[in-house]
């Protein structure tokens, strides 16, 4: 047995094959995170270029063009996140929900934080002209949205990291204690840098594409200059990963590390190095058009991302394997005892009924009325002695009251209507009015 008592899983079967769920979690999540990266990186670059735009008008135009892509990527980021969320819910039920609850307040705060960031992003986009005279304010709106976008990944990464280590669950008291677990900050740095790199790569193509009318939009920038500019953004960010990548790897808790994982990471890193070489050449000597070199760079970085994503999944599966086994065993065992207890309960009811020497009226009284009424003291409602004084010789009156009670006494709560069969009403009324010593 592990360090925790294994919780019971939900006993309903998985709705689809685990293979489908594993593929879905890797690939659907990748698509989601791609748009999250474009949203985050786009938001950061928008602010950066708008600030530079105060000196250089072309940079302001560039910032505005990037901002137009952010509102699209942000909508796709959210909607594409729901699918992987659904798969997480069903495939990692116990782990995911437990981590959610343990970081509950911060986890929930994601909703208002992202909503605010989205509304600020719209405000920023649609007030570009109106706030041209108050550029500082306009930049501040964009920067605030970026800051919110930067906070949110901390919550997701903390949660997803905590989920992997059930042995830590008892030592966590709130979000902040989970945030300082060893691997969270390196993962965060790795992710934010990757977002900027991906956005740089995307904007190379977006502004470098053949149909983009750079001459009409910008005063000085042409497509080639733009492409080079974003190639250097992508290069700088990818280069930084040579620092953050190892940091992330060496802070990984040992539980999930395997040779398969290491091979995956090495494959990913080699492709990243290929991309770095290609991007360096693009910066030093940009090609005439968006061509084979770009395609090769994009393919290499896609490969890196896929290897890393798959590696992440391998790590998760091997870190959780022991607890998964324990949970499955405990759930199966528990469901058997549940079934046995149900059988006993069914048999038990007949048993007590046969044995009990009590009248039907007393049975109803014990199981229902006794919650509020006792023989000669007030519990919630009046004692039987008082009821008896009022309804002596009038069981029909008592039954009428029980069916539809009103409120007679100011210092008593109103009695709820009690639904019984006609025979039960009669029996319990007779029982109440015949309790010895009540008259």
């Amino acid at each position: 047995m592990g360090p925790l008592p294994a919780p019971h899983d939900i006993p309903l079967p998985l709705p689809v094959s685990p293979l489908f769920l594993e593929l879905a979690i890797v690939f659907l999540f990748l698509i989601h995170i791609l748009f999250v990266a474009l949203m985050l990186g786009g938001s950061l670059l928008t602010v950066a270029f708008e600030i530079r735009g105060r000196r250089r008008p072309d940079c302001d135009v560039l910032a505005r063009e990037i901002a137009a892509t952010v509102t699209v990527s942000k909508s796709l980021a959210v909607v594409l996140g729901v699918g992987p969320l659904l798969v997480m819910n069903v495939f990692y039920t116990v782990f995911f929900y437990s981590a959610n609850a343990l970081t509950g307040a911060a986890w929930l705060a994601v909703i208002p934080l992202v909503t605010a960031a989205f509304l600020l992003t719209y405000l920023h986009k649609y007030t570009w002209d109106r706030l041209a005279g108050a550029k500082g304010l306009h930049i501040a709106i964009g920067a605030l949205a970026s800051a919110l976008f930067l906070v949110v990944p901390f919550v997701f990464l903390t949660n997803i990291n905590l989920m992997l280590f059930p042995d830590r669950w008892t030592s966590v008291h709130g979000f902040l204690t989970a945030l300082v677990l060893p691997n969270v900050v390196p993962r965060y740095l790795h992710f934010v840098t990757a977002s900027v790199a991906l956005t740089g790569l995307f904007l190379m193509a977006y502004f470098g594409r053949a149909g983009f009318p750079a001459e009409e939009v910008f005063r000085e920038f042409d497509r080639r200059a733009l492409r080079r500019r974003f190639a250097s953004v992508a290069l700088g960010a990818t280069g930084l990963q040579l620092l953050f990548g190892p940091l992330l790897f060496f802070t990984l808790p040992a539980v999930g590390i395997s040779w398969a994982l290491i091979l995956n990471i090495l494959a990913g890193v080699s492709l990243a190095i290929v991309a770095i070489v290609l991007l360096t050449r693009e910066v030093v000597a940009p090609g005439a058009r968006l061509g084979v070199r770009y395609l090769a760079t994009a393919t290499a970085l896609t490969g890196t991302v896929v290897f890393m994503a798959y590696g992440r999944h391998l790590y998760r599966e091997s870190a959780l394997a022991p607890q998964r086994t324990a949970i499955a065993a405990r759930t199966a065992e528990f469901e058997e005892t549940v079934l046995a207890a149900q059988m006993r309960a069914k048999a038990g009811i007949r048993h007590t009924k046969a044995e009990a020497a009590t009248s039907p009226g007393e049975q109803v009284f014990r199981s229902i009325c006794s919650a509020c009424h006792a023989r000669d003291t007030r519990l919630v409602g009046p004692p039987l002695t008082e009821i008896d004084r009022i309804y002596k010789g009038n069981p029909a009156g008592l039954i009428a009251w029980v069916k539809a009670p009103g409120k007679k006494r100011p210092d008593y709560p109103q009695m709820p209507a009690i639904k019984l069969t006609p025979a039960q009403y009669q029996a319990v009324a007779e029982f109440v009015l015949a309790v010895p010593g009540t008259s």
Binding site: L12, L14, V82, G83, V90, W107, I111, Y122
Partner: protein
């Protein structure tokens, strides 16, 4: 029982879900499902009569819907996932196992819907008058997609009220085509159309400040839209009401008001009906004499509809009590079929995160606190919304409470309060909860959920061999 327990001791967990869900439903019904066909109709009207001012009004109405649905609307949708998985992980986890296919398809439709609404909104000006027909066709396709997301999610909502034959068959289709599905869909669809019409009428006032002629025409057309959908909403509502199981209908008075005010049920019901009639009269006025309608009157119906929609959702949520999934799982997340076992062995014996499996004189109140957290806090707080102390004070008044009386009540309350689940534990455990409640009354203390207090496990397990 098997998850760390998130708890909000002031607003309550139900309030959290209700707040997010009602906001989401209002936005989804009024600004998406109903609004998209309405905007498409306005665009078509403008194109047919060669009226650029109509086209502009349609575009601006869509702009408001677009910004709100793709921010607050989308995020409250995700928020429902987050909040339900925090508040009742066992329930949402079970629902996902049953409805994974439906939710997955809904997600794909949802992705298409987002892409389509971006295309529809962002291409409005670019496609201009030259490709108007194609653009209107895009609006029509988007209308269908928006409605499909509603059609799928309603299956799940109605399943939670009445699983029907799923309880025996356990198949996906038997879950989807539960007895309440089609009536609820037949009700919600026209209600969404109505709500969108009312929203658009209110909005038209802000968007047509200087164009009085356009305003009068818009009020007339939108009022006609509202009146046209009304009979469908009434018919759907009646069909739905007829299909709600009898035991649930008995809960309606408490659901609509509260336990303390259930005597006012008739008054509240009459007030709601009066609101509906007021809305219709205003719509009729708008259709017949749009120029005479004062401005404030146009904003009022939308506000009233929000009140009605909120009441409808509250009633729907409440009347399925004591269950969260009817006849399968109680509101506290404990399955109905597990209760016999728990009543034999105790909740503490089978719960994962408790500090001790046994009750001793020294830990009675602490054990009671943990049991309260597991069995009661999905609906009750200690002294916030739906406070347990207030409920018991209502019963026992200011006199000292008798521990055994409270214990006795815990074990039988479900027979007299049919919306309460049975106490799932042993008699000894009910006693421990009573001890906790009495202690809480002596010295009220905030009850912290796992999000701040973390979780504890029994000492014998933490020290088990092989632990890391």
């Amino acid at each position: 029982m098997d998850f760390p327990i998130f708890h909000l001791d002031f607003a309550g967990n139900r309030m959290l879900i209700a707040g997010i869900a009602v906001l989401h439903v209002m936005i989804n019904h009024a600004l998406a499902v109903g609004a998209i066909p309405l905007v498409t109709m306005m665009e078509l009207h403008g194109a047919r009569h060669h009226r650029p001012d109509w086209d502009r009004l349609a575009y601006r109405t869509l702009a408001v819907c677009f910004i709100i649905t793709t921010s607050v609307g989308a995020l409250t949708g995700v928020g429902i996932w987050f909040a339900t998985s925090l508040v009742n992980p066992a329930a949402i986890g079970s629902l996902i196992r049953v409805f994974f296919g439906a939710w997955f398809v809904e997600w794909i439709v949802f992705c298409l819907e987002v892409i389509a609404i971006m295309a529809y909104f962002l291409s409005w000006k670019r496609m201009g008058q030259r490709h108007k027909r194609a653009h209107i066709a895009l609006g029509a396709a988007l209308s269908v997609l928006s409605w499909l997301t509603l059609a799928i999610i309603v299956a799940i909502l109605s399943f939670m009220m009445e699983p029907g034959s799923w309880l025996a068959r356990r198949s996906f289709l038997s879950g989807v085509f539960n007895p309440l599905y089609l009536p609820q869909l037949a009700f919600r669809t026209p209600v969404a159309m109505l709500a969108a019409g009312l929203f658009a009428v209110g909005l038209a006032f802000f968007l047509t400040r200087s164009e009085r002629e356009l305003r009068a025409q818009a009020v007339r057309l939108l009022s006609a839209w509202i009146l046209a959908w009304t009979p469908f909403a009434l018919a759907g509502g009646l069909w739905y009401r007829a299909r709600v199981p009898g035991w649930m209908r008995a809960n309606v008075p408490v659901a609509l008001t509260t336990q303390a005010y259930q005597g006012w049920y008739r008054d509240v019901a009459v007030a709601l009906a009066a609101m509906a009639i007021a809305v219709l009269l205003i719509a009729a006025w708008g259709a017949l004499a749009p120029r005479r309608l004062p401005r404030a009157v146009l904003v009022l119906p939308f506000a009233l509809v929000l009140v009605m929609l909120g009441s409808f959702e509250r009633v729907r949520e409440f009347i399925r009590k004591p269950f969260v999934i009817a006849n399968y799982m109680y509101a506290n997340g404990i399955r109905a079929d597990v209760v016999p076992l728990l009543q034999e062995d105790g909740v503490l014996a089978h719960a994962t995160y408790v500090s001790s499996r046994t009750i001793t004189p020294a830990n009675r109140e602490e054990a009671g606190r943990e049991l309260f957290l597991i069995c009661c806090t999905r609906c009750h707080t200690t002294s916030g919304v739906n406070s347990v102390l207030a409920k018991l004070t209502n019963l026992y008044g200011p006199r000292p409470w008798d521990r055994n009386v409270v214990k006795g009540y815990l074990r039988t309350m479900h027979t007299v309060r049919p919306y309460m689940p049975p106490f799932p534990g042993t008699e000894e455990e009910a006693g421990a909860v009573a001890d906790y409640l009495l202690a809480l009354r002596r010295m009220p203390a905030e009850l912290d959920g796992a999000q701040t207090a973390g979780v504890r496990v029994p000492a014998d397990v933490a020290a088990a061999p092989g632990s890391r």
